[in-house]
């Protein structure tokens, strides 16, 4: 519901996106980065350019101002020289005292320099012509003054010189006017330039501050666009990735063409793939579970449907056998019985084969000494062997040879192999049963015959169902699935069944099974290390039946040795969850030790089954596991576990738990 709501919301958001937004989304991340850096850079560039142009203008203005100032100063100096010279000459005229000539002489001495300065300044200010007029006026004034001085020196009186002095004054006035007209323009320019410079300075300040703000804003906006846009989308992608990790469905991908969009698209694709795979797995698992249940039900049904009429056939035939019958009828009845029993054996073996194939065969693996097993089998089959004048030699004699197997099933395998050897032996032949340990921790149990032997091709076929080699020739009876079943059973017990043969000499069938170390021969360190495990501690204590569901042989070994040393407990072990459940229901032990990691079922599942199964609901279950998180322990206790031991198991703790269980057991319970 939630995801479909998100799905509905997203496309509308996509439709709301403006063209710029779409363009931005399609832009590759690198281009986005460039855009983001370019924004403040462009702002900076604009500001710098504007500032440079303004500064250049200001510089021009300043140069012009300088020129005007220079012109003004030099022109004023030329005028001042003329005025000073005039003043000096007038004093000389009035007094005829040469001392009054000093200002004139000084002005005369410097006026050439001042004129040149004016000329230079005027050239710089672009007003050369009016300056030349000023200089010409200055020359006229100075020449007039020189004549006046000469006249005074020649003895002319002041009164006679008055008209000439008037003439000189008018020349000075012309000079004054020309200087004024020369400097008027530059002076105006000067004041204009000053105000222009002030204005430009204000502009430069404004542009700098504005540019700074614009650059900052562009930088901030660009970074914000980049980071918020990208980080928000990265956050979305990251959320998608973790959703993917949890196997939840992903929202649809927003449109876009950059790397992040492609990442989102890839994530979405992975999500879809994962979802479809998960769906397939669920379907496959359900199918497998259903198929397994169906197979189990089919086997049970088949078994029932075949045995029920067979019960009538065999039952009524047995009744007939008990009645008064003629010899021929008696023979007929026996033939019916023989055929019925053959049919029953066939059904039993077929159902066993089917159970092995579907993994439904329940085994109770325990230490099985081989010598008594071989003795029993030989004993059982000697009458049949004698009928065919075949001799059985039982040479397996080492009491130390103990294997891990289901006793009944191993016996079935051995009986199967011996009866096969009898059936296919020659008259007067022998069968030798032998056993030995291998270099690895295996034990081999071999049945050798002196029959006609098998070719390599035949050796391959004998383990196929209904390949009754030579049965036609020998008229041998048998179900045709004895050997395939024996091999299946050996393998189900963790062993192997192999055959070797020399045509004309005989065949050897060998069962290899994992060896069970004999504690009596080698006292195990683990048991010795356990606190006072001796029987003395539990004299006459009630025997406690313990079921250990564990697939790790090393763990089984430790507990086996400890319990053997303890002496008051009987241990059953099961190497898979299914086998454990079957054994628990069959045996109803006093206590169950349960490993959490089994090959077929999770320990928690086994625990749940044990709790719901009425027969075992009351049996305390102790979890043994290396996985010791407190959450896990709480969950298991809540699910009905009576206790929890961490691996490696502290044998003292295990002992204390067993003592508690034994004490809590109702008197008379168990055996």
């Amino acid at each position: 519901m939630e995801s479909s709501a998100t799905a509905a919301a997203l496309p509308s958001e996509g439709r709301r996106r403006r063209p710029v937004g779409r363009w931005w989304l399609r832009l590759p991340v690198r281009a986005k980065g460039i855009v983001v850096v370019a924004l403040p850079l462009a702002a900076l560039l604009i500001v710098t350019t504007a500032s440079l142009i303004l500064q250049h203008t200001e510089q021009g203005q300043r140069t012009m101002t300088h020129a005007a100032t220079g012109l003004n100063t030099t022109a004023s100096q030329v005028l001042l020289d003329a005025v000073n010279a005039e003043t000096g000459v007038r004093g000389y005229i009035a007094t005829a005292n040469p001392a009054f000539l000093t200002p004139y002489l000084q002005a005369l001495a410097r006026t050439g320099t001042d004129r040149r300065a004016l000329s230079t300044a005027a050239a710089r200010a672009g007003v050369a012509r009016p300056a030349r007029q000023v200089i010409a006026s200055s020359v006229t004034v100075m020449a007039d003054l020189a004549q006046l001085r000469a006249l005074v020196a020649s003895g002319e009186t002041a009164a006679r010189l008055a008209p000439r002095m008037l003439q000189g004054k008018s020349a000075t006035d012309v000079l004054r006017q020309r200087v004024a007209s020369l400097t008027r323009g530059p002076m105006r320019l000067l004041s204009e330039g000053r105000s222009s410079i002030n204005g430009l300075e204000t502009d430069i300040d404004r542009v700098s501050i504005g540019g700074l703000i614009l650059g900052l804003l562009a930088g901030v906006a660009g970074s914000a666009l980049f980071t918020t846009g990208l980080t928000r989308r990265i956050a979305v992608s990251s959320a998608s990735a973790s959703q993917l990790g949890e196997g939840r469905p992903l929202p649809p991908v927003p449109p876009g063409g950059d790397e992040l969009s492609r990442l989102d698209a890839a994530l979405a694709q992975a999500g879809q793939l994962l979802a479809s795979r998960a769906a397939e797995l669920v379907t496959a698992r359900d199918q497998a579970v259903r198929a397994n249940q169906a197979k189990d039900a089919f086997l049970s049904n088949t078994s029932h449907e075949l045995r029920t009429p067979l019960n009538s056939i065999l039952g009524f035939t047995q009744l007939l056998q008990l009645s008064e019958l003629g010899a021929e009828d008696q023979d007929s009845v026996e033939r019916i019985l023989g055929a019925g029993r053959h049919l029953l054996a066939l059904i039993n073996e077929l159902i066993d084969v089917a159970r092995i194939e579907s993994g439904e065969l329940s085994l109770s693996l325990e230490p099985v000494p081989l010598v008594p097993l071989a003795d029993e089998a030989a004993q059982l089959l000697r009458p049949l062997a004698a009928e065919r004048t075949v001799r059985i030699i039982q040479s397996c004699a080492s009491p130390a040879l103990v294997v891990r197997a289901d006793r009944q099933r191993l016996s079935q395998v051995l009986v199967n192999l011996i009866s096969n050897a009898i059936k296919y032996n020659l008259r007067g032949g022998t069968i030798t049963i032998s056993c030995h340990a291998t270099a690895g921790s295996q034990v081999r149990l071999a049945v050798a015959d002196t029959g006609p032997g098998l070719t390599a091709d035949e050796l391959e076929r004998i383990f196929l169902p209904f390949e009754r080699l030579g049965a036609e020739r020998h008229g041998t009876e048998g179900t045709g699935i004895g050997l395939p079943l024996a091999r299946g059973l050996a393998e189900a017990m963790g062993g192997r069944l192999t055959a070797e043969s020399t045509p004309g000499k005989g065949s050897v069938f060998t069962v290899s099974l994992p060896r069970e170390e004999d504690a009596d021969l080698r006292p195990p360190a683990a048991a010795a290390a356990a606190p006072a495990p001796a029987a003395a501690r539990h004299p006459g204590a009630p025997r406690l039946s313990v079921l250990y569901i564990e697939d790790n042989p090393a763990s089984v070994e430790v507990v086996t040795r400890y319990l053997r040393g303890r002496g008051d407990a009987r241990l059953r072990t099961a190497s898979s969850g299914q086998a454990g459940l079957a054994a628990a229901v069959r045996e109803v032990p006093d206590i169950i030790l349960l490993d959490l990691h089994l090959g077929d079922l999770r320990g928690e599942e086994v625990l749940r089954e044990l709790r719901t199964e009425p027969a075992t609901a009351a049996v305390p279950v102790i979890i043994l596991s290396a996985e010791a998180s407190s959450g896990m322990i709480r969950r298991l206790i809540a699910a009905g576990a009576a206790g929890y031991l961490t691996k490696p198991v502290q044998l003292a703790e295990l002992g204390a738990l067993l003592d508690e269980t034994a004490a809590a057991r109702p008197p008379g319970a168990g055996q």
Binding site: S303, H304, R307, T308, L314, G340, S362, A582, E613, A615
Partner: protein, 127 residues
């Protein structure tokens, strides 16, 4: 008065066989029921000394019938031997766990059957 044995079984041939075997023994009177429901009713009415129960009935499984029999105080104490064509160890184990007194696999040997009946009818299961 001879004790009553109730046989809950839907296969008529098997019913006839057990009938003849019991007649041969001459120790018990046989009542039969062809369905689980009928069997539970008959058990409550006839209070048999022993119930033989087929594991697969048209209307119920053996363990379902067993559950109903043990739930009713009137029939809870009656020993029930499941006669089943399903020889699986798991089936046998779960039936025993559900309260079955014994388990007899079909096809059974008639001598084995007679020994079992004698055992139950002389107060207690066979040794």
């Amino acid at each position: 008065v001879s004790p009553v044995v109730l046989y809950i079984e839907d296969d008529p041939d098997n019913v006839r066989l057990v009938e003849r075997l019991l007649r041969r023994l001459g120790r018990a009177e046989l009542r039969t029921a062809a369905t689980g429901a009928e069997g539970v009713r008959a058990a409550a009415a006839a209070r048999p000394a022993l119930i033989l129960l087929d594991n697969r009935l048209p209307d119920a499984t053996g363990s379902e019938v067993l559950g109903q029999l043990t739930a009713d105080p009137a029939t809870a104490a009656i020993p029930v031997v499941v006669v089943s064509g399903d020889s699986g160890a798991r089936a046998a184990a779960s039936l025993r766990a559900a309260g079955a007194a014994g388990f007899l696999a079909k096809p059974f040997d008639i001598r084995e059957f007679e020994a079992m009946i004698r055992g139950y009818l002389s107060d207690g299961p066979p040794a």
